[in-house]
């Protein structure tokens, strides 16, 4: 027996039931480690379950070999565990630091909060690392295991956070990207009243198919027919309403329209009676790449700015709100424009049409049209979809708005990408009710249930926007911010930069620290809301033989809206002399109306003489590839760059005499193969436009 074995024998320390042996390789002076805190290089305590001390005494050589082997195994295990623990601790470090760095992009939202997050991450990592280093230094098995478990948890958490942040960053990039891809669903709509029945897509061969000028559905539809090898004649219309009228009138065999075409033109009481006799022959989807113009280069914390908010539905602008923000007064004007407002559309050569149809051509067409209508320069655009309302409202935990009547609203099912009906919460006494995303969407879309129809809808849209802002301002949870950003990124497009948005939110939150009511931080904004009022009218279409519904705007309403917005964004107006206050709590203050309900102006109930054939009124120089059958793009993947469309629109040579009696549109350089109907439009614009 060698010296080492002798030392080993002296260190034998039997227990009652198990045989416990301490093996000392280096020296026997070192303290015996407990079974839970083993020091693997200096001494070993090995337990052989079920063996007693007597047995050990009887046979010493066998256990010693086993003990050596066991010790080797333990050392190997320790080394393996330590390696894993170190690797995972390093991974946790990398992931958490990466997360913190990614998160800093949003730090301008609330610096103090992000400082705390950064310090917390630093503290957690330092504690973890020091503990892990201690476990390695002292070679404590259980410490290593604890550090390993903590590292696993932190790595898992860090991985998830990194995944979420990368997604959010991607969403924010999408949100503020000026180029984006959108899915367009279109359908070939047919009318059973037509003399020539159509039962399949191939029946359209040689027939005339109509589309709305410049719309995404037109491009998608034409590509679809090309794919199906259907050789159809194409006829273009100014708007979906005109297109639908053409279908009913028998001008065309089929119309390329959005799948939800009924919801687009259901304002026309003269047309909706035909819905039952129409059906979808075929529907198809495609992705379309669109580009928006870059926003203004402004510091939103010092310079007043304007934003055009539009809610997109099947390519049309269902919601149009012109917002102006003054970062000093924190006054925000919100001016709604009825989607049926009958105004000159800039990209139609200023021919009047419903304002929502301008959006079908491009967002910039809508911007130009609103700018021309109001005289207000628009700095930025924000475009949202049904899904964005649902997701953002849900991200802020729902909205609280006043709804005093029961109705079944029409919302959107994101999962199935289809309309759905649901009961909307209400409180007859006019109190606030809580609505989730789907309910809020139905609420802001509803007009039939309310006496003032579309204006109730505009009011509700403004109320929901205000409450979303209130909820955003009130939140203290960074996760909520990130959820909002993610929801917004998925469904909202803006040409503001991410920094501009974040800086402004941060700025507003700084202001809120001085606000007298900490429970209502959104109160820091003073919302001044209004709508450009007008009156119901109709326009007689000699071609179709019936009246089309229109909504004519009051000149006074447009002027008042312009004045209110210009005052809000002005920094140079001469201030009126300060007078003082006179207020009494025995009455309720009623803010002066931004825009009056009615104006003493001559109204027209029928613009029949103004109406001209809305189809094929224009030819476009250099863009016949888009509008005429023979030049239709052979674009098999149906990718359509709407930027190109815009460029072509800009190329349109329009000689439009705003004040004269002729709006003659000429197009140069039309392709000889085209079916261009390059006609002059004899329109008396002075009679046609009640709005100057």
């Amino acid at each position: 027996m060698n010296e080492r074995e002798d030392k080993f024998r002296k260190n034998v320390s039997p227990s009652e039931d198990d045989e416990t042996v301490k093996i000392s390789f280096r020296n026997s002076r070192q303290k015996e480690s407990s079974s839970n805190d083993e020091d693997l290089t200096s001494s070993r305590t090995i337990v052989f379950p079920g063996r007693n001390h007597e047995n050990y005494e009887d046979d010493t050589s066998e256990p010693i070999v086993k003990k050596k082997k066991h010790h080797k195994i333990q050392v190997r295990k320790m080394l393996t565990r330590s390696r894993w623990m170190t690797a995972l601790a390093v991974l946790a470090n990398v992931l958490l630091v990466y997360d913190a760095l990614l998160l800093t992009k949003y730090s301008s939202l609330k610096q103090s909060m992000f400082v705390k997050i950064d310090l917390a991450v630093l503290a957690v990592l330092v504690v973890l690392d020091l503990f892990a280093m201690a476990s390695l230094f002292y070679k404590k098995k259980n410490w290593v295991i604890i550090a390993l478990v903590i590292s696993i948890i932190l790595s898992a958490g860090g991985s998830y956070a990194a995944y979420a942040l990368v997604r959010i960053n991607s969403s924010v990039n999408d949100l503020t990207s000026t180029t984006y891809t959108k899915s367009v669903s279109a359908a070939l709509v047919i009318y059973s009243g037509n003399s020539d029945p159509i039962s399949s897509v191939s029946d359209l061969d040689g027939k005339t198919v109509g589309f709305a000028r410049g719309t995404d559905t037109a491009e998608v539809g034409k590509s679809y027919l090309e794919k199906k090898k259907v050789s159809a004649e194409y006829k273009e219309y100014n708007s979906y309403t005109d297109l639908f009228s053409g279908l009913i009138n028998g001008d065309i065999a089929s119309a390329v329209m959005p799948v939800q075409y009924e919801s687009i033109i259901d304002n026309d009481s003269t047309l909706d009676s035909y819905f039952a006799d129409t059906s979808i022959l075929a529907s198809f989807d495609s992705n379309v790449t669109a580009t928006t113009q870059a926003g203004a280069d402004k510091d939103l914390t010092t310079e007043p700015f304007t934003v055009l908010i539009s809610g997109e539905n099947e390519g049309l602008a269902d919601t149009i709100i012109l917002v102006s923000v003054n970062p000093v007064s924190m006054n925000v004007t919100m001016t709604s424009i009825a989607r049926d407002s009958y105004v000159p559309i800039t990209c139609y050569g200023n021919v009047k049409s419903k304002i929502n149809s301008a959006h079908a051509v491009s967002e910039s067409c809508l911007v130009d049209t609103v700018e021309q209508l109001t005289g207000v320069n628009i700095d930025y655009t924000v475009e949202f979809t049904f899904a964005s309302v649902i997701e953002i409202v849900d991200a802020v935990g729902g909205v609280d708005v006043a709804n005093d009547r029961y109705f079944v609203g029409q919302s959107w099912d994101i999962a199935t990408d289809s309309l759905k009906n649901l009961d909307i919460p209400y409180d007859e006494s006019g109190g606030l009710v809580h609505m989730n995303g789907e309910e809020a969407l139905a609420f802001v879309r509803e007009r039939h249930a309310f006496d003032d129809g579309d204006f109730a809808r505009q009011r509700h849209q403004q109320a929901v926007i205000e409450d979303i802002i209130a909820k955003v301002m009130a939140t203290k949870d960074p996760n909520t911010y990130l959820n909002i950003l993610q929801a917004a990124g998925n469904n909202i497009k803006t040409n503001m930069s991410a920094d501009q948005v974040l800086n402004f939110v941060s700025y507003a939150m700084q202001k809120a620290t001085r606000y007298y009511n900490p429970s209502d931080l959104a109160g820091v904004f003073n919302f001044i809301t209004g709508r450009i009022t007008g009156y119901d009218s109709s326009i007689y279409s000699p071609e179709y033989g019936f009246n089309l519904y229109t909504y004519e705007l009051y000149n006074g309403a447009i002027e008042d809206a312009r004045k209110a917005i210009e005052r809000n964004i002005s920094t140079t107006d001469t201030p009126s002399a300060f007078t003082g206050a006179s207020w009494n709590a025995d009455t309720v203050y009623t803010a002066p109306k931004m825009i009056q309900d009615t104006y003493d102006e001559a109204v027209s109930s029928d613009n029949s003489s103004d109406y001209s054939d809305s189809s094929s009124d224009y030819s476009y120089s250099n863009d016949s590839q888009y509008y005429y059958q023979d030049d239709a793009p052979a674009n098999n993947d149906t990718q359509t760059d709407t930027t190109t469309q815009d460029v072509h629109q800009d190329d349109t040579q329009i000689n439009n005499d705003q004040s004269g009696s002729d709006s003659t549109v000429t197009g140069g350089g039309t392709d000889s193969n085209s079916t261009d109907t390059n006609t002059d439009q004899n329109t008396d614009t002075s009679d046609q436009e009640p709005v100057q």
Binding site: T41, L79, S82, V90, N93, L96, V97, L101, T104, S107, Q111, V115, D118, L119, L122, L125, D129, L136, D299, L300, T301, P327, V328, S329, M330, N331, G430, Y507, K511, T513, R514, Y515, Y516, N517, G523, V524, F525, N526, S570, T571, T572, D573, T574, P575, S576, A577, F578, T579, G580, A581, W583, N584, A585, D586, T587, V588, Y589, T590, A591, P592
Partner: protein, 250 residues
Amino acid sequence: MEKAGLRRQRKEKFRRQMRSLLIILLVFTIISAIALLWNLYRIRNSQTGSGNTLQTSGVSSEYSNKYYSIGNNPTDIDKTYFKELNKAVEADDKALISEDIVKCFVSEYYTWTNKDGTYDIGGMQYIYTDRQSDFEKYTRDEVFADMDLYLDKYGRDRLMQVKEVTTENAVNAGQVTVKNALATASTADPNATEVPDSTASADEATYDAYTVQASWTYDEDTDMDLSQAQKNAVFTVIDHDGRMEIAAIQ
């Protein structure tokens, strides 16, 4: 001996490996700490736009009592009047409190040198709480409507500042009926005046009240034209469940 040597080598190898792991961890700890400290610096210096918000100055606890707290960035006379209010609150003298909150209100509300913007309305804490938002809206729309233009044109330091406020003795006005928090613009009766308690509707409430006649002067070192500026008013102060609050300025 050979085995012992081998064992020592193994032990040495084990120690080396453990030391390597330790060094790796140490290095990553240092890198992480440096990265996070640098990130902290980035956060502190992150671009938040050049728009400024007037920093709220801290005030000592003497400018707060069981009912009221002094407003943001108080001026010297704000502080003086608030100290007087403290004494009145301590004495629980309703008439005196009424006079002092009127002084405090006037000195805060009609002073713009310490305001950040139209939203930053002084003296809100003295307004009848049920109708604070109503008063705020009125102020922003009509009284402070051009404050942003004044700020742009003259700068904050050149705006109006109350120099002195004097009040007559508060007069017991009996009971007055005012709208409560339930009242909304649609239910408001613009012709409503004080009505007996028995006829008060659900959106009204009746309180004991004092009226206080106040007059004040402005610091002349200002660029604002104060020729038409209000310099006196009669305030109605109600006893709102023990807290005296301004319910009317006329």
